[in-house]
Symmetry: C2
Subunit: 135 residues, 2 copies
C-alpha cells in the first residue's frame, strides 16, 4: 500500500488502496489496543510480520496520515507510533469486523468481553475509546 495508485473513485476501492492489505489493519488494531507502539511492539504481535514489510507499511500509513511518528520521551533510540484522528476514525470499521467475526467463528474471551460493552452502548463505547486514544 506504499504506492499511491487509485484504482477507481469508489470509496471502498479508495480505502482499500490505503489500508486494504493483509497487514495494515493489524498495525491499526495494535495501535487501537495500545494507543502507542514502538517498532519492536509491532514485531511482537502474534501474526509475525516481517520487518521489511512492517517498515513499508508504517511508511505507507504515515504517508496517508493514518499514523504519526513521534519521538519517545525516554530515549532517542526509540520511536513511538500513534494513530492520527483519521486513523482513530477507523475504529468503527474494526468494531464491525470484530462483530462479524464473533458471529461466524469463535473469538477470544477478551474480545467477547469488549463486544459485550459495545453491544450495551456502541456510540458510547466509541466515544470513550476515541477520547482515550486522543489524550
Amino acid at each position: 500500500m506504499n504506492n499511491a495508485k487509485k484504482r477507481s473513485d469508489c470509496p471502498v476501492s479508495s480505502s482499500l488502496d490505503i489500508w486494504g492489505d493483509k497487514w495494515s489493519l493489524l498495525i491499526i488494531r495494535d495501535l487501537l489496543n495500545a494507543k502507542a507502539c514502538t517498532y519492536g511492539d509491532f514485531l511482537k504481535s502474534p501474526e509475525g510480520i516481517a520487518t521489511n514489510i512492517l517498515a513499508s507499511r508504517l511508511q505507507g500509513l504515515e504517508e496517508n496520515k493514518i499514523i504519526i511518528k513521534l519521538s519517545h520521551p525516554d530515549s532517542k533510540a526509540k520511536v513511538l507510533y500513534r494513530l492520527t484522528a483519521k486513523g482513530i476514525d477507523l475504529l468503527p470499521i474494526i468494531i464491525e469486523i470484530n462483530q462479524w467475526a464473533e458471529k461466524y467463528f469463535p473469538v477470544p474471551e477478551a474480545t467477547q468481553a469488549l463486544l459485550k460493552k459495545v453491544r450495551k452502548d456502541k456510540p458510547g463505547f466509541i466515544k470513550a475509546m476515541i477520547k482515550e486514544l486522543e489524550s
Copy 2:
C-alpha cells in the same frame, strides 16, 4: 485468500485471512449493489480485476461460504454469484468504510445520497437492505 492459513486467533486477523486483500471486498461490494452478478459483471467493474485473480477470489470466497454459485435461470452457460447470509453480514463493515471514506476524501454523488439515508437511520437502512438481498 485462497489458502486457509490462520495467522492468529485475533478476530481481525482471522477476518483478513478470508477477505483481507485488495479485491475480495470489491467483489462483495458489487454483490451488495447488484444482489447477483455473473463472472462477466465482476470483470466490468471499474477497477479492472484480472480474470485469473477473479477466478481465484471467487473460489476463496465460495470456500469460506461468503458467496454461493447458482445456475442462471436463463442459460446454462451463465453462472450467478450471490452473497450468503455470512456475506450479507459484511454490509455493516462496508457501510463504515464508506462513512470513513466520505469523511476523508471526496466520494461520488451516489455514495453521498446513500450515506444520507444511512445517517438518517442506520439500523433501518441495514435491515431493509438485508431483506432485499435475501429475497
